[in-house]
Symmetry: C2
Subunit: 141 residues, 2 copies
């Protein structure tokens, strides 16, 4: 894998992000992030982490046990501007050798286009109520 992969689309960067989590590859994961002191990561139930070093350290701890997470996404939404992409999705996370059902997680993923293609600048994940459906109805009545 090259030192600085170029992600031609936000989708490429997002796919690399989740692949890196499933592989527990810290190097691969951190190549998805923009190198910016204002990048932000919020893990479910966790505090806001800002900056490359703090975000890297938190993922390093998550990956300590090796590859064990599987993440299925559903219900993606997208708002795109020329230099940014605002994605949300429901993450269905399972842990290897653990059959217990986990509550879904709402994730906001933001990517910004720079000289080296698209990079993540924000990941905000929070637990959703267990009865969250895959596709939130557009209208509540």
């Amino acid at each position: 894998m090259p030192d600085k992969p170029i992600f031609p689309t936000p989708q490429d960067a997002e796919a690399a992000f989740y692949e890196a989590i499933e592989r527990a590859s810290l190097d691969m994961l951190m190549l998805v992030w923009a190198e910016d002191e204002d990048i932000v990561c919020v893990h479910p139930g966790g505090p806001r982490l800002t900056g490359y070093a703090a975000i890297r350290e938190a993922w390093r701890r998550i990956f300590d046990g090796g590859p064990r997470l599987r993440i299925r996404l559903s219900g993606g939404t997208s708002v795109v501007t020329p230099f940014s992409a605002i994605h949300t999705a429901i993450e269905h996370i399972s842990v290897r050798n653990d059959e217990s059902q986990r509550a879904p997680v709402v994730a906001t993923n933001i990517f910004v286009r720079g000289a080296l293609g698209w990079r993540m600048v924000l990941h905000h994940a929070s637990p959703a109520p267990p009865d969250t459906v895959n596709e939130t109805p557009k209208i509540l009545h």
Copy 2:
């Protein structure tokens, strides 16, 4: 108040957003949001709401009791592109006539620039650990 106020900067739109919450003004609040089916709102601990109607309905319920919330922000971060602004902050929310301390909330607020100035396209709020400091250190060591 005009039907369609123009927010010249993301900061103007964000200030109107929090002012509308403190006033419990649903009309004012909804004028801050872009009229787009892909707008997303996540209240602390809540499901992902997508689209103008679902988001409006959830805020209507929150505002049912009239103006009672006070929100102080700290530790803002910002990533700006020509057509979008990605803000995060810690919200310190208090409820009138209720002195109990509340856990801080991490908020991601996204604004996009359109023909009518800046409008909100995403608000993702989640409870943060109670010991979250106002300013997250940039480097953990």
